[in-house]
Subunit: 368 residues, 2 copies
């Protein structure tokens, strides 16, 4: 299945900060067919460094989407039955308006003049996309990590538009540890002289700072155990310690590779803005308590966490589940066993697929 | 109790890499009195960023030592009874020869011409210090984190010189996750243009890189729970989000402060060398298995870990304990409950002190 990225343009979006961004472009892909009653649409929400290319093979690069093991004919999100949409988030760098986009008022990239955005702003822009596709209600919103935050935000802020929400490996509010890891990444980028207060688009990007930020990220995405299984203390192409500061261990080589690879595909300023949106995310910001936040939610929920995920630990999912249960919402919860840490929602998908498939099946039958 | 730092000079030390370093200075402090039979000496081994000033009030700065809550009259390491020694490690920057020291052959700082060192090298230099103090056998070697690695190395490499070993919150070998966090710190330093291949002693140090390395460190020293208790999502001197990239959250302010503070007291090249020594540490390097490594050990062991320490998790201590028990060594183990994460061995010392006190009491009575 070859897929193309579409773009939609919208007049403006009013942001939580009070600023307005105009105009705004959204990059998105769709898979499957919207049915006549428009009751089979599912919005997939990507994580921090994801993009609109969730499934199929890209017509440009030939590469599979980031959740191709989960979206497609006969898969968890079955494109033989459902119309699946995925868009790049506001503030991103993969086709949707972000800090690397040209500010029409200046003819130059926004850079750090881009307004600070929130998860709520991302979702608000997604509602405009869904409107433009003529869809009133989504059968489901689903995503892992930051995608799960968006799924929660949808259920809370647009309750009448969401039949079911599937937040995976996520949280109702970023913890200080989660903020701290993001802050380290931001500081690494801003400490790089090539960052130049964000004005690097006509010269070279802050590659070293961005690579370090990504290295920290990758450590938090894996579990201690999966790192032991994948790397152990194996040396990289040598039989003894080098007794110097070149690469000794395979894990060092892996991190350096992942760091440098990321620089080619991601914008450092987007890193700053998107992590900030994650850190601001707290469903209790407006409502005071989580129970208040969920009070108007109408969706049924499937909450999934993974046993070895220490970046978004299960207790954060369980807090969501407890509050939903207490207020008599329809909620199913699975803590899936996995050694893969936070990455599990992307790579260890067999059980996750079964759970999602069953949940969507019953939702479609009973509620659509 | 006001204390002074002494220095001892040694002709040379032969390193695991094959290189020789000559001459070598060691900074150390002592507390209490050596008894006539020289049977009451305890060597305290400091962690990554520690120094020789473990206890008492510094005659220079007036500040208490890093383990002053644990070492002193009537404390866990009771200086009314024991003669306690602590020295700055080889490769350090607090008085013992390290990369910031002057290379007598060039008249310039060693910088990156300093040889790569190991935990074994640190301990070998400590044996020279102990020799110079006329002490044949140590009643105990004790330390947390990297200090615990040195305690284990003493027990394995100099079995006849150690009556008891107290490795705390440590491991018999650095795991890939532990290597990975160190590698991120090293890369952050080396990515800072001010690092200048290590030649910054006559200009400005790589302050931004070193601060970022330290920020990562501090996250790993705390637990998720202790960060929630200490910071939560509290904002720093503001009532609303700033919607900019200045400090929003208290946890951000704390990390930035700790990072910048560290730059004033620690040498970036020492960061590189000491973390490398940690990463090379693996008691099975020479012996093949942990059982072989411990085969000749004669010490009794007190192994301590902390429930919320995810940087040096309890399973690493338990591996040591299992191997020692299987081979019929004298070993006691305590996993102490604490919310403080890896920092617990420095800050949550009430129970730790009781356990150490009892262990030293019986060791001194039965074995000294």
């Amino acid at each position: 299945m070859t897929v193309e990225t579409n773009t939609a343009q919208f007049a403006s979006v009013s942001l939580d900060s009070g600023a307005t961004l105009a105009p705004v472009t959204v990059a998105y892909q769709t898979y499957g067919q919207l049915n006549a009653s428009k009751s089979n649409a599912i919005l997939i929400l990507h994580a921090f460094s994801g993009d609109a290319h969730a499934a199929g093979l890209s017509s440009e690069t030939g590469k599979p989407g980031w959740w191709d093991n989960t979206i497609g004919p006969g898969k968890a999100f079955d494109t033989d039955r459902f119309f699946v949409i995925c868009s790049n988030v506001l503030g991103g760098c993969q086709g949707t308006t972000g800090p690397s986009s040209i500010n029409p008022q200046t003819g130059c990239p926004y850079a750090m003049s881009f307004p600070v955005i929130t998860i709520g702003d991302m979702v608000q822009l997604q509602t405009q996309l869904i409107d433009s596709l003529g869809i009133e209600r989504l059968l489901a919103v689903a995503g892992g990590s930051m995608g799960g935050m968006q799924a929660l935000e949808w259920a809370v802020s647009y309750p009448e538009r969401v039949v079911a929400a599937i937040p995976i490996a996520t949280t109702a509010r970023h913890s200080p540890q989660q903020i701290a890891f993001n802050e380290v990444g931001r500081q690494a980028i801003m400490a790089d002289p090539d960052w130049n207060d964000g004005n690097y688009y006509s010269s070279r990007p802050p590659a070293r700072g961005l690579a370090i930020a990504r290295m920290v990220g990758h450590i938090t995405y894996m579990s201690d155990e999966s790192m032991r299984e994948k790397f152990g203390r194996r040396l990289r192409q040598k039989e003894k310690f080098g007794f110097d500061f070149s690469v000794d261990f395979e894990v060092e080589s892996y991190l350096r590779y992942r760091g440098s690879q990321f620089v080619g595909r991601f914008d450092a300023n987007s890193y700053l803005y998107i992590t900030k949106a994650e850190d601001y995310f707290d469903l209790t910001n407006a409502a005071g308590t989580l129970a208040n936040a969920f009070a108007k939610a109408q969706a049924r929920f499937l909450v999934i966490s993974f046993s070895s995920d220490w970046l978004y630990p299960s207790y954060q999912s369980q807090e969501i589940v407890r509050v939903l249960r207490r207020s008599n919402h329809d909620v199913a919860y699975c803590e899936l066993p996995s050694n893969y840490g936070h990455d599990a929602f992307l790579v260890d998908v067999a059980e996750q697929s079964e759970v999602i498939r069953g949940f969507l099946e019953s939702t479609y039958k009973e509620k659509a």
